[in-house]
C-alpha cells in the first residue's frame, strides 16, 4: 500500500483494470506487462494514418473538433483549438508527444508507451497530418525504462515497414518534474537544459526551431488514433457531452494494488474506487491530480465525478488522472509535509521565489508535522503560500501552494492533534526539549 505519493510507485506494482460495464478503448486487448503489441498486430485493428503533407488537412482538425477530445496531461484543454492555432502559425509546425509523466503516482502514459506505443505514435502522425508538421519528437521520461524500450522498438518497426512521410525521433526527458513542462521540452529539443524558459513566446507560437509547436500528452494522442479510426460520434458515445470519451486514471494508496483504470469521463469517484477494491470508510483524504493537484475530504471526493464541472466547486480538477487515497491510519499532515519537501527538492532553482519559497514552506510544514511552533508556522505557511502564487516562470510554485493549503484544510483535525503534540499514526511527536 502506497503511503508516500511523492515517491514514484514501483513500475512493476501497477495493475490494469476497466470500469465495470465500460467497453475499454485504449486498454482494449492490452498486452500484459512485459509484452508489446507489434506494428503488424496494431495495423490489424488500426489502419495506417494518411501521409503527412505540407499545408495539413483541415478535415482531420474538424474530426477532432467534433469529437471534443481534451488534453489528458492535466490542463484539459480542447485539442482542436491547439491544432488550429499551430496550423495557422508562421512556419512549418513541429509535434511533441509529452510522455514525460513527471507525477510520481501516475503511470498511465508509461503503460501506453511500453505496451501499445503505436497507438500513441499513430495519434502524433494524425496530428502531424492535420497541421502539416515537419517532424515528430516522442519525449519519454527517463524514469520509465519500459516506456523507453517500447517507443524505441516501435520506431524501429516503423522505420523498417512504413513511411509516414515524417521523421519521428525519441527524446529522453530527465527525471525532474518541471522537465515535462512544455517550454522545458522545447528548450531541451532546441539543445538547452530541460527547464522552463521565459514567456512569451509560447511554444504554440514559436517552439522547436522557432516553429509553431503542438504538444500533447501521450494519452491524448492515443485517443486521437481511436477517434480517427472509429469516428467522432463513437468517441462521444462515452463520457459526458462536455467531456466526452474515456480517460485513464492512476489509483494508489488505500487499495490492494496500485491500478491504472480506464473510466468514462465523468465517472463517480466512489464507484471507481470501490470497483478497484477500495473501502471509502478507510480513507481520510484524496489527492486529486497528483502532487500538482488538490486534497479533498472523503466527503467531497466520494460525492464527486471525474469531470471539470463536478470537481470545480471543490477547487479540484481531474488533472492528469492521479487519484491517491490516503489510508486513514496514516497522518495527513506528515504526507503533506513530505510532498512539500518533494516540491522543494524538485524546484529547478531558476526563480528566487520558487527556490527559497518552496524550501521555506517545506521547512515550516516539517515543523508543524513535528509539533514545533505549530501556530506561528501555520501563519508563516499561510503567508508564504499566498505570496508565492504567480511568482515563478512556470506554475510549479502555484502547485505547491494549492497542495499545501488544500491539505491543511482537509487535515484540519490532524493539525489540531499536532498542536497538542499528538498524531494519528499513533506516535507522540518528538517535542524539542
Amino acid at each position: 500500500m502506497e503511503t508516500h505519493p511523492e515517491n514514484r510507485v514501483d513500475p512493476d506494482a501497477w495493475t490494469v483494470s476497466v470500469a465495470p460495464g465500460l467497453l475499454p478503448r485504449l486498454l482494449a486487448d492490452l498486452p500484459r506487462a512485459g509484452s508489446f503489441r507489434t506494428l503488424a498486430e496494431h495495423r490489424a485493428v488500426y489502419p495506417s494514418p494518411p501521409q503527412v503533407r505540407k499545408g495539413g488537412d483541415p478535415l482531420l482538425i474538424e474530426e477532432v473538433e467534433r469529437a471534443g477530445v481534451t488534453g489528458r496531461g492535466g490542463a484539459s484543454f480542447p485539442a482542436h483549438l491547439k491544432w488550429k492555432v499551430v496550423a495557422s502559425g508562421r512556419g512549418r509546425p513541429m509535434v511533441i508527444v509529452n510522455g514525460s509523466e513527471g507525477e510520481p503516482a501516475s503511470s498511465k502514459d508509461a503503460v501506453l508507451m511500453s505496451r501499445v506505443p503505436h497507438l500513441v505514435i499513430d495519434g502524433a502522425v494524425y496530428a502531424a497530418a492535420a497541421i502539416g508538421a515537419e517532424r515528430i519528437f516522442v519525449c519519454v521520461g527517463a524514469h520509465s525504462t519500459s516506456a523507453m524500450a517500447g517507443v524505441e522498438r516501435a520506431l524501429e518497426e516503423r522505420d523498417d515497414a512504413e513511411d509516414a512521410g515524417i521523421p519521428i525521433e525519441m527524446r529522453i526527458v530527465p527525471d525532474r518534474y518541471v522537465a515535462g513542462e512544455e517550454r522545458s521540452l522545447v528548450h531541451m529539443i532546441n539543445g538547452g537544459p530541460a527547464v522552463p524558459t521565459s514567456m512569451p513566446p509560447r511554444p504554440f507560437e514559436r517552439g522547436v526551431k522557432k516553429r509553431p509547436t503542438l504538444i500533447h500528452n501521450a494519452e491524448t494522442l492515443a485517443h486521437v488514433t481511436t477517434i480517427m479510426v472509429n469516428g467522432a460520434a463513437w468517441y462521444r458515445s462515452a463520457g459526458t457531452s462536455d467531456e466526452p470519451g474515456t480517460r485513464l486514471v492512476s489509483l494508489s494508496g488505500a487499495l490492494p494494488r496500485p491500478v491504472i483504470c480506464e473510466v468514462e469521463a465523468g465517472a463517480s469517484l466512489r464507484e471507481v474506487f470501490e470497483a478497484n477494491g477500495g473501502d471509502c470508510s478507510l480513507v481520510s483524504g484524496v489527492l486529486i491530480g497528483g502532487n500538482f493537484g488538490t486534497w479533498l475530504s472523503p466527503q467531497d471526493a466520494f460525492g464527486a465525478r471525474l469531470s471539470l464541472a463536478s470537481l470545480r466547486p471543490t477547487g479540484a480538477s481531474p488533472g492528469c488522472g492521479v487519484l491517491f487515497f490516503l489510508p486513514s491510519d496514516v497522518c495527513g499532515v506528515a504526507v503533506v509535509a513530505d510532498i512539500a519537501d518533494w516540491y522543494s527538492r524538485e524546484s529547478a532553482r531558476q526563480c528566487g521565489p520558487c527556490e527559497f519559497g518552496l524550501e521555506a514552506i517545506a521547512t515550516a510544514m516539517d515543523a508543524v508535522d513535528s509539533a514545533l511552533d505549530v501556530d506561528p508556522m501555520l501563519a508563516r505557511i499561510e503567508r508564504l503560500t499566498s505570496e508565492i502564487r504567480g511568482r515563478g516562470g512556470c506554475k510549479f510554485p502555484d502547485g505547491a501552494a494549492q497542495m499545501v493549503r488544500s491539505g491543511l484544510t482537509v487535515f484540519a483535525d490532524e493539525v489540531q492533534l499536532h498542536r497538542a503534540g499528538y498524531c494519528t499514526s499513533g506516535r507522540i511527536s518528538e517535542v524539542a526539549v
Partner: protein
C-alpha cells in the same frame, strides 16, 4: 472608458531572469514590495498616472532586465473582465 484606459500601463516581472536586486521596489514602492529574500511581489500591476517615467527608469536600471512594462490595450482589458 476609452479615455480612461488610454495610456494605462501594466508591469510584470520575468522571475526566471530576476535575481532580486530590488530596483523595481525602489522606484515603484506603491506597486512592488519585496519578500524576505528580496524578490519582488507585485502588489498592484497597474501604474498610476504619471508613473510611467519611473517605471521605465526601473526597467532600464534592472541589471537583469527582468521588469516588463506593457501598455494595457482597451480590448484586452474588456476581455479580462
Amino acid at each position: 472608458m476609452s479615455a480612461k484606459t488610454e495610456g494605462r500601463y501594466r508591469i510584470s516581472v520575468d522571475f526566471i531572469a530576476c535575481r532580486g536586486h530590488g530596483m523595481c521596489a525602489d522606484f515603484l514602492p506603491e506597486n512592488v514590495s519585496l519578500d524576505e529574500w528580496g524578490y519582488p511581489i507585485v502588489k498592484d500591476d497597474t501604474l498610476a498616472p504619471g508613473r510611467l517615467r519611473d517605471a521605465k527608469q526601473a526597467a532600464l536600471l534592472c541589471p537583469e532586465l527582468a521588469l516588463r512594462i506593457e501598455k494595457v490595450n482597451a480590448s484586452a482589458e474588456v476581455a479580462r473582465k
